[in-house]
């Protein structure tokens, strides 16, 4: 079930499906193992709908075989601001490049099509392809959190990049 406006050359984004329980390790936003039964329960009970304040998840799937390779959680309370967090499958060697492509699909949709005033994205300082994509898309690095993310044997900073829409000028109807 590909979404026409969220499809790139290597990956595409789509809504969660019941069958995603079978591939939970690829997209669930936690490094802890989750069984298929627990994933099924989570999909039924914990999944947030648009605007509920709970995160909504989009699966990042490979174009070549439709297999999930990650997810992006999107949280909004008011349809003005959106917060994005990526989770990539733990076995990938090219997670940064795939996340960068997903970001290139998401930002034009959220900022220009959905007209969010502000879209915030968490990116680690060593995710260079994602940072390059963010800057190419015109996002600003507005927050730098020191030593915020744990990596094997070291810590790296966390960035919040922000896509700002042009200010709304709303006329009376």
């Amino acid at each position: 079930m590909r979404v026409t406006y969220l499809t790139g050359t290597t990956v595409y984004l789509r809504a969660l499906l019941a069958t995603d329980k079978e591939t939970v390790a690829a997209w669930f936003p936690s490094p802890f193992p989750k069984s298929v039964a627990a994933a099924e329960e989570w999909l039924k009970e914990s999944y947030g709908s648009w605007g509920s304040g709970k995160p909504t998840y989009l699966i990042i799937a490979q174009y070549s075989d439709d297999q999930p390779v990650g997810s992006c959680s999107l949280r909004t309370h008011d349809y003005r601001r959106a917060f994005l967090n990526f989770t990539m499958a733990p076995w990938l060697d090219n997670a940064d490049e795939l996340r960068a492509e997903a970001l290139r699909l998401l930002i034009p949709w959220l900022r220009d099509d959905q007209e969010f005033m502000s879209v915030l994205v968490s990116i680690a300082s060593d995710e260079l392809a994602t940072i390059a994509a963010a800057e190419e898309l015109g996002l600003e690095q507005n927050v730098r959190l020191r030593e915020y993310i744990a990596r094997p044997g070291k810590r790296v900073d966390g960035f919040l990049y922000q896509a700002l829409n042009t200010p709304w000028k709303v006329a009376d109807a």
Binding site: E140, E147, A150
Partner: protein, 194 residues
């Protein structure tokens, strides 16, 4: 591979599923070795199913909230907590609220040092952040006294009085908090001596 968490050249690690119970029971039924700690015992697939179902239910908390109380009479003053806790990155965001009668009394600062001690010393968190609506200059000043450093701002976080307002972001490392607490404790000791 089905849901791999760790992948080697020949093996991988994944979560247990209820479907594994049958095979697991077969391993137990066909166990050839006798020298292990409890010897060999038959296992019921039904028991193993229940075990596997329960394995992945417990979760670590993402939010820890405390009631802040006055020692002299146990009165509730407000709340302090740590939200968005990430147990892998060892990060969290502090938040607090004090009832109006207890503000500007120094009690909030004491409670804040307790929550930071809990975060850094007991939970062993590494970086704490806090966010403050830009108009809330009192909270920003309090964070600076507790050692927090400005980390940036989330622009146009909200609209107030027809204009966009930012949310200020601060971060704090353990050493910075220890230094700030030392200064605060010295001031407290000086007040007591006077």
């Amino acid at each position: 591979m089905r849901n791999p968490i760790m992948v080697g050249k020949r093996v991988y690690l994944r979560a247990f599923d209820v479907a594994d119970a049958e095979q697991w029971a077969r391993f137990a039924a066909e166990e050839p070795d006798t020298f292990m700690y409890r010897g060999r015992q038959p296992e019921s697939p039904m028991h193993l199913e229940t075990w596997a179902k329960g394995l992945y239910k417990p979760t670590t908390p993402h939010i820890i909230e405390f009631a802040v109380c006055l020692r002299e009479n146990d009165a509730l003053m407000g709340n302090m907590g740590i939200e968005d806790i990430n147990w892998i990155n060892r990060t969290g965001e502090t938040g607090s609220f004090l009832g109006a009668p207890y503000r500007n009394s120094g009690l909030g600062t004491e409670a804040k040092h307790l929550i930071l001690e809990y975060a850094f010393e007991r939970l062993q968190l590494h970086t704490i952040i806090s966010t403050v609506f830009e108009a809330n200059t009192r909270s920003s000043a309090a964070l600076a006294k507790q050692g927090y450093r400005p980390a940036g701002r989330m622009r146009r976080h909200d609209v107030k009085d027809g204009v966009y307002r930012d949310m200020l972001v601060y971060d704090l490392l353990r050493e910075e908090w220890l230094a700030a607490r030392e200064i605060w404790q010295a001031t407290q000791n000086q007040h007591e001596a006077e």
